[in-house]
Each structure stands twice: as structure tokens, then as C-alpha cells.
Symmetry: C2
Subunit: 206 residues, 2 copies
DNA sequence: CAAAGATTTAACCGGTTGGTTGAAAACGCG
DNA sequence: CGCGTTTTCAACCAACCGGTTAAATCTTTG
């Protein structure tokens, strides 16, 4: 196991290859449904070589989760309490989240798999940094509502609804495609229009 | 393998015990993450005895899915095109779906697990009966919109949004609890209030 | 109650899985 | 080049998993 701080070019490259392969495999099959052989093959390495860079299958999984969580929460973190128009600011958040479902579906499914199964390996982050961030942004949304700048809703459930309605396009992609049979990603353009109209109608102060 | 049509009382009882145990186990760990031993133990039977009633692990899983799918879609099927007030009719659908998340979270997670992983064992039902039902109800919603009885949205994405915003309380229960720390199920009462206000605001014709 | 059928399980099997070992190959550097 | 370090992998292992077998036990029924 590479111990030193300064990673060599080979370490950098192989670690990245393993994490990318693991993202592919874990997001499609979940933790238990994935095998080290699959990850190794997808990364172009032998199984013992994968275990040379990570001490165990679980170490790969937790490295992935903690490495991706920051990126995943970035759009919410960017929600600006000083925004000129809070409705537009929230609409931009919805839009950014939908874009992420389009461009990072593997990341979305990785978290979905983990949470559906009770978040056994990521509960610490949920009750820690995620919860703190949501608490902070819920206050911002409450303030906007108190000022009459947006319609008034429970801010936590509003945030949850945005997560659900945007991430479903990545997490439940198989279902959407089975029902809509899109040739490519057109249904996501329809989704963008729907979500824009829908959240705008609900959030604009009556 | 019990072949005969008329099932004995023992067959009835053990089949039901196995399916209930399998629902518990599959919904928590997914198909690959579940073992026959877990299911057998949870059902109070030995592993070979479980395989006396079902020919394989996969047979249990598909029996479960097909047995539950009808119940799962019942609320959508009940959506009545002749309802007096289409907004109320859709609100009732939202409410019924949320109740199901509260009362049948295992069933919800069973489907969520299956679909997140690409729906490999249930794609037929999705492109078949589920798609037909959604097509039918999408037409009903479109008609309501054309008549000006509800605000106009893409009916497919409206249905998807209802699924996402209600089922998340079952599927992502671990995350909700990590963020809200409810003692019991109070957060679902908040969710009911939120969803009612939210969908009513968005669906009521402007 | 006795025979036929239904139900249960101990013991077993072959394949897979996460992980280890030891030695060889490749690399970095004086 | 030469030597210590890093990287790679064939071979291996013990545990686990889905599934089978064969024989024992319990139920039903004539």
C-alpha cells in the first residue's frame, strides 16, 4: 500500500483508473453486487494490483463516496442568500441539479444505491456535513419566505422535493426510458421545461 | 416444488412466510446483496426447505415483484377521469402515494433497488403494463389541462414528479432521518402538508 | 392404522468472492 | 549500468453462496 504523501505519476493514474472503474461498477450493481474482479477488469488491472492501491473493496467504496460528496453538494452550497431574485436562485438550483443528473448519472446512482440500502457506509456524512449544510440553507429559504420573496413552504421538504424530482432522472433512468422510449436524452429537455414551469408556479409568491 | 393447483394450508403458510421474509431482505439489501440463508432464517425455515417451495432465489424475487406490482399501481389506476375536481383528484393521488410510502416502505424500496440497478428483472412489466397505464392516465391529465381544469404541464413528467416526491420518503428514509432526526414518523405529516400545499399551488389553474 | 404423499433437513457440491503471498518485472536514481 | 524501491501478477486460500441429494419425518386419507 502506497504510504508516502507525494504520489507518483503511476499511483495517481492507477488510483484514478480504479476509482473511475469502481464508480462505473458500484453505481450499476451496488456495493454487494459488485466484485473486485469487475472493478479490476474495468480498470485494466489485475485484482491483486487493485488491492495494492486500496486495502479492501470497502476502502474503494468509501474513498469514492467521500471524494464525490463535495462535488455532489456543490450546487446546494452555491445557493446564495443574497441573490437578487430568490425564485430565480432556486430555479437555478433545480436546473443545476438536473444538469448533474444528465452529466453525472453514475454519481447519482452510487449515492442512491447506498441510501436505499440504509446508508450503512455513509451515515456519518449525512448526519454531519450534509445535515449542517441543509440546516444552513433551510434557514436561508425560510428567510426568503418570511420576506415574502418566495411562497412559503417547509424548507426541508422543499429541498427534498428538488433532490427527488431531479435525481430521479439519473436514479430511475431505466424506468423513464421504459415508459418514454426516448432515442437519446430528449426527455431530459422535457424534464427541464416541466421542472421550470412547475417550480416557478409553486414558488412564485401568490 | 409443489405442483398441484390446490395449495395445502402448509404450502399457503410457508409460501407467504417466504415472500414476507424475502420482501424484508430484498428491500434492505437488493437482489445480489441478499442470501437464501438470510431469507430462510427470516422465514423460520431451512434453506433447502425454502428451495422446496421456490425453484430458485430468482424465482422468489420475480414472484414478489409480480405479486406486488398490481398493488403498487393501484392508486394510479384509481385516478378517475370523471372526477368532479381534477385538482382534488390529483391531490388525492399524491396523498395515497405518500400513505403507501409510510405503510409499505419495503415494497417501495424493493422496486427502487430493482430500478436503480437497471430493472434487469422487471423491464418487461415496465414497458408493458406500467407503460400502458401511464399512457392512459397521461391522456386523462392532458384532457384536464386542455379543459382548463388544472394548470398545464407535461403529464408524464408530472406523474414522475409525484412518484419521486412521495416514494423518496420510503426509498431514501435513511437520509431523511439523518437530516431531520424525527422520533417517529412525524416528518411524514410535515411531508403531507408540504406536498399538499406545493402540488395545489402548482396544479391550480392560474 | 397403514400406505401414499407432502414436508423437512443434514450433508454435500461446485463455483465465486474478497483477500494473501511470494517472487518477478519495471522503475528511479546515483 | 547497478541497486534499492515500486509495481505487477500467477497461484493460492478460506469463507460463502446457490443449489442438490437422499433419507427421515410428518400429514392426509382410505
Amino acid at each position: 500500500m502506497p504510504k508516502q504523501r507525494p504520489r507518483t505519476r503511476i499511483q495517481e493514474k492507477n488510483r484514478a483508473a480504479i476509482l473511475d472503474a469502481a464508480l462505473e461498477v458500484f453505481s450499476r450493481h451496488g456495493f454487494r453486487g459488485s466484485t473486485l474482479d469487475q472493478i479490476a477488469q474495468s480498470a485494466g488491472l489485475s485484482k491483486p494490483n487493485v488491492l495494492y492501491y486500496f486495502s479492501s473493496k470497502e476502502a474503494i467504496h468509501t474513498a469514492l463516496l467521500s471524494e464525490l460528496l463535495d462535488d455532489w453538494l456543490e450546487p446546494l452550497r452555491a445557493l446564495d442568500e443574497n441573490a437578487d431574485d430568490p425564485v430565480d436562485e432556486l430555479m437555478a438550483y433545480v436546473s443545476r441539479k438536473l444538469d448533474m443528473s444528465r452529466e453525472m448519472p453514475r454519481e447519482s446512482r452510487l449515492f442512491a444505491n447506498e441510501i436505499v440500502q440504509g446508508a450503512p457506509r455513509i451515515m456519518g456524512e449525512i448526519t454531519g456535513s450534509l445535515r449542517a449544510l441543509v440546516d444552513e440553507k433551510a434557514k436561508v429559504i425560510s428567510t426568503w419566505a418570511d420576506q415574502g420573496k418566495i411562497a412559503s413552504y417547509d424548507p426541508y421538504h422543499l429541498i427534498f422535493s428538488i433532490w427527488a424530482t431531479t435525481q430521479q432522472y439519473a436514479d430511475f433512468d431505466a424506468q423513464m426510458r421504459g415508459i418514454l422510449s426516448p432515442a437519446g436524452d430528449e426527455h431530459l429537455d422535457d424534464a427541464a421545461r416541466f421542472l421550470d414551469g412547475f417550480y416557478r408556479a409553486a414558488l412564485t409568491p401568490h
